[in-house]
Amino acid sequence: MSVATAPTAALPKRRKTAAAEDTAERRRTIRTAFAFLAPSLIGVLLFLLIPIVMVIGLSLVQWNMLTPMKWVGLSNYVNIFEFDGFGHSLIVTLYYVILNIPIQTAFALGMAMLLRQKHAGSGLIRVIAVLPFLSTPVAMGVVWNWIFSPTTGLVNQFLGHLGITGPAWLSNEATAMPVIAFANIWQYAGYNMLFFLAGLGAIPLSLYEAAALDGAGKWEQFRRVTLPLLRPTMLFVLVTGVIGSFQVFDTVYVMTAGGPGNATQVASLNIYNTAFAGFRIGEAAAMSVVLFLIILAITIAQFRYFNKRITYEIA
């Protein structure tokens, strides 16, 4: 019987096994894929997604990590502004961002324009300018403390030679924040310059030739050709820069610790102090949520602005 039916039955049977093998193979691939994905997926879940859900929950309770949590609804969101000076922190942070971002971006773009043409030595400067990006902000903070120290620092010694008595930069309310902003501009200007150099390299020279034929001067060419075509780069540099600046912590911690008074009490420092010196977890969580929403809103606004401008340019 088996002999007689073999040729006819074998064909569908073989097809069936092939199909079974196929699904088995597929299942194996899926298993492998998830095995490959597992570590980073666990990381994303445990250290990013769960904390985001948690931070919202924690912002609605009163808790010092020792006694049981107490549900307080939205009152933390009121208290952080009324009692913890978070409004002041946000203003100070915004002030820092405003000091930092425009100058840093202009400096980075200026250097990129300068180093765009290949002259002898421009490659070396390009390398030197990027070095600060790697340097430990905490360690650099200490170096800046010295450079801006009232009597032994380079800055005041230099001013002294000119007959000017320099201020105690970091313990003066008017100068502390600009010095911190300077430290961060120094750190990231060269890094951002690289993005501008890449962006500038992608602009076809023929556009400049055409603009020059139309009688556009150097400034006109910069305004009408360079800037519009750098918009994607500009968006990237501004978005990453703004997100980073709103979270500034390391240099502030080392250079002023929020002082003098609370002139440099930026948002992240306030969160740190509230959570880990005051152990008021609920308030710190509420501050985190507010800061997140502000960063998110500004990021979205930047995307909108640049997208609008880009479509306008194409039309």
């Binding site: 490959f36 570590p39 985001i52 030595g121 430990t136 360690a139 032994t152 390391d250």
Partner: protein
């Protein structure tokens, strides 16, 4: 008539000559200005390092008395030996190195595996999971700080080495994203051919993808290493014993305790800065290219 034309042409010639001379002069002025600017830029970026090196090899009285720009007359290692014998900078350095190496190795390998799955394997839910990863890119670190601390406190992981690197060692979305974008540019046929030859996915990744993707892997490695080395806020809050301190935390503590002992504190800063300068000197070309690579991918 002919004399008129000759004088005219002569005038034109001299005019051209002066114009040329003027433009050459202009070029000279512009080039001088260019190099002056380059010099100023170079000084701005180099001086802080140079001065710190000078100071770190001077005793405190010399730092207080001399100009910061003056090299040490009789360089001394005593600041460094004080840091390494009387204080725990040896320990801090070893801790930093250990934690950074573990963090970097894990982050690069696990991100690479995730990136490969997203780029070149098909499984249900792939696109929505990838979107999830992308969305987490928008979340600033500071937002997850407090809940992460609570999680680690509840798992009794505070004050351990694990606490310092665990949040970053399993692969991070940014790194997954960077590598995934790169892997997408490798033709599918390469992998399909290898699969037909009976190559396992692990072997394909290790033997085929990794060698082709060296630039992006070096980028991810450098970014992870720099991040680990410079990380401050997280180690600051999850460790509070001196024996677990990394360099950044050690320097910050030292700064609040001995803030005006410039000889020691600047030498301490250099302990953190110099390895990065060396790393930079070795990999500068890669680093410069890497950073551009991360920009293009956006």
């Amino acid at each position: 008539m002919s004399s008129v034309t000759t004088t005219a042409s002569a005038a034109v010639a001299t005019g051209l000559a002066t114009e040329e001379r003027a433009s050459r002069l202009g070029r000279g002025v512009r080039l001088t200005g260019f190099y002056l600017l380059l010099l100023i830029i170079a000084l701005i970026f180099i001086l802080p390092y140079l001065m710190s090196v000078f100071a770190a090899f001077k005793p405190l009285p010399a730092i207080l008395a001399q100009s910061p720009l003056r090299p040490p007359t009789s360089p001394t290692w005593s600041n460094f030996s004080t840091l390494f014998t009387q204080y725990d900078f040896g320990r801090y350095l070893a801790n930093t190195l250990l934690v950074t190496v573990i963090l970097t190795a894990g982050q690069v390998i696990f991100s690479m595996m995730g990136a490969y799955a997203f780029a070149r394997m098909s499984f249900p839910g792939r696109d929505s999971l990838f979107w999830l990863y992308l969305m987490t890119l928008m979340v600033p670190n500071i937002v997850t700080l407090v809940p992460l601390y609570v999680l680690f406190a509840h798992s009794h992981l505070l004050n351990t080495y694990w606490a310092i690197f665990l949040p970053y060692v399993l692969g991070v979305p940014y790194s997954v994203f960077l590598m995934r974008q790169y892997f997408m540019t490798i033709p599918k046929e390469v992998m399909e051919a290898a699969r037909l030859d009976g190559c396992s996915e692990g072997r394909i990744l290790w033997k085929i993808i990794v060698p082709i993707s060296r630039p992006i892997i070096i980028t991810a490695t450098l970014l992870a290493f720099v991040f680990g080395w410079n990380n401050f806020m997280w180690p600051l809050i999850v460790t509070n014993s001196n024996s677990l301190n990394v360099l950044t935390v050690g320097i910050a503590n030292f700064n609040s305790n001995f803030g005006v002992e410039w000889n020691l504190i600047l030498a301490g800063a250099l302990v953190a800065l110099v390895p990065m300068v060396i790393l930079f000197a070795i990999f500068q070309k890669h680093i410069v290219n890497s950073i551009s690579l991360t920009g293009i991918n956006r």
